[in-house]
């Protein structure tokens, strides 16, 4: 029996390989003046039944969306301000994602153009015209955002996934705590003798 009792923790840790963190995850990115996003359950399932709420910086409700069969949703923004995307399921899973005003800026050329005028012109003939310059800036920012997006999603997914180190660390804490308590108890009973 002692051998079994000693091997049980080992068996349990081997059986339980870390897979994914728990709950729902939401990603959203600015694409021009639209916000494109997706909602997933940890473990890869599409969060079809989730409710997506778009809030402004003050917490006011801008829109309520429902993701499609792939868990994808999109929202047409009206102003380049901070947007908070909240994904919720009925049973209390919840995730948030913030799309900053800076990210949406390029989608609103009128607002960006004002900035460009005050910044002045760069050397070079074709960029002397402020509106052309701001248009080019917007295009570059959109292209870079699109390129970087898969990287960001991957980074987020990696951060959400619990690593083996987390699992072993937690189990170590549990056994250590039990060990400290038992040591403490054992010392107490020896003092009594």
């Amino acid at each position: 029996m002692p051998s079994l009792r000693r091997s049980l923790p080992l068996v349990l840790t081997l059986v339980a390989t870390p897979v994914f963190a728990h709950g729902i995850q939401v990603f959203a990115f600015a694409d021009g003046d639209r916000i494109e996003g997706s909602a997933h359950f940890a473990g890869g399932g599409v969060a079809r039944g989730a409710r997506i709420r778009v809030l402004d910086a003050q917490g006011g409700l801008l829109a309520e969306l429902e993701p499609d069969a792939e868990g994808v949703f999109s929202y047409q923004t009206r102003a380049p301000v901070d947007h908070l995307i909240v994904a919720e399921t009925g049973d209390g899973h919840r995730a948030e994602w913030r799309v900053s005003a800076a990210e949406l800026g390029p989608g609103f050329p009128e607002a960006a153009a004002e900035g460009a005028v005050s910044e002045g012109c760069v050397a070079g003939r074709s960029f002397a015209d402020p509106s052309a310059r701001s248009e080019l800036t917007a295009l570059i920012e959109q292209a870079v955002a699109r390129q970087v997006r898969p990287l960001r999603e991957e980074l987020l997914a990696a951060r959400g996934r619990a690593s083996l180190r987390d699992v072993l660390g937690g189990i170590g804490y549990l056994f250590g705590l039990a060990g400290v308590l038992m040591w403490w108890r054992a010392r107490g009973s020896r003092d009594l003798k």
């Binding site: 923790p9 994914f20 359950f41 009925g90 049973d91 919840r94 937690g170 189990i171 056994f175 705590l177």
Partner: protein
């Protein structure tokens, strides 16, 4: 399902959960059975890890809870064991919210305690088949009751009842079935190979 994150529940529910779990913890620390400490460590380690393996199911994702097993094996010791495991899940995995820790502890510990109080006295008289039935009952009751308590804490926080109840019906019933099978199997296995671990020290040798 059972780890409610921050920002979902209302303040009265959070405060009530924190006070309730504090009271339950004080009560259980007074009745703590130090002979159960090694089992508590193993079971809370299993509980800690089991929440990582979540399976998307219907409009939600589920994972094993194991609180029924903890209740029936540990009795009152299950409360601190659950609390410590929930704290570690919060720190290491980000499961559940810090403010919701009290509510989450209550949602898991109350079913565990009820399983312990209702089913533990029956263990001594149970045969091999009886062990499986007791374990299955503990697993099923643990999951169903936890689901109910989660819905209750959502409803008390002024959230729509219907979606929560629907999700509960779709995702919790299959989980309760699976958990009942697993808990029954684990309990009858442990009772066969190491009766002392299930019935308490001394009973195995008698």
């Amino acid at each position: 399902m059972a780890h409610v994150p921050d920002g979902v529940l209302s303040t009265p529910v959070l405060v009530g959960g924190a006070l309730g779990s504090l009271a339950l913890l004080t009560l259980s620390l007074r009745r703590l059975d130090y002979g159960h400490l090694p089992h508590a460590a193993v079971l809370s380690a299993a509980f800690f890890v089991s929440s990582l393996i979540s399976v998307p199911l219907g409009p939600s994702s589920v994972h094993l809870l194991l609180n029924g097993l903890m209740g029936v094996m540990l009795g009152w010791t299950a409360v601190p064991a659950l609390l410590v495991a929930l704290c570690l899940q919060l720190v290491f995995f980000g499961h559940g919210g810090l403010a919701a820790l009290g509510v989450n502890t209550l949602n898991m510990a109350i079913p565990a305690l009820l399983c312990g109080l209702a089913l533990r006295p029956r263990l001594a008289r149970a045969g091999p088949g009886g062990m499986f039935r007791i374990g299955a009952a503990a697993g099923g009751i643990g999951v169903l009751l936890t689901g109910l308590l989660v819905v209750l804490s959502l409803v008390l926080s002024d959230r729509a009842f219907l979606p929560a109840a629907q999700v509960l019906a779709v995702s919790v019933l299959p989980l309760a079935l699976v958990e009942a099978l697993i808990t029954g199997t684990v309990l009858s296995f442990l009772a066969r190979v190491d009766p002392g671990s299930v019935l308490g020290e001394g009973a195995g040798r008698a």
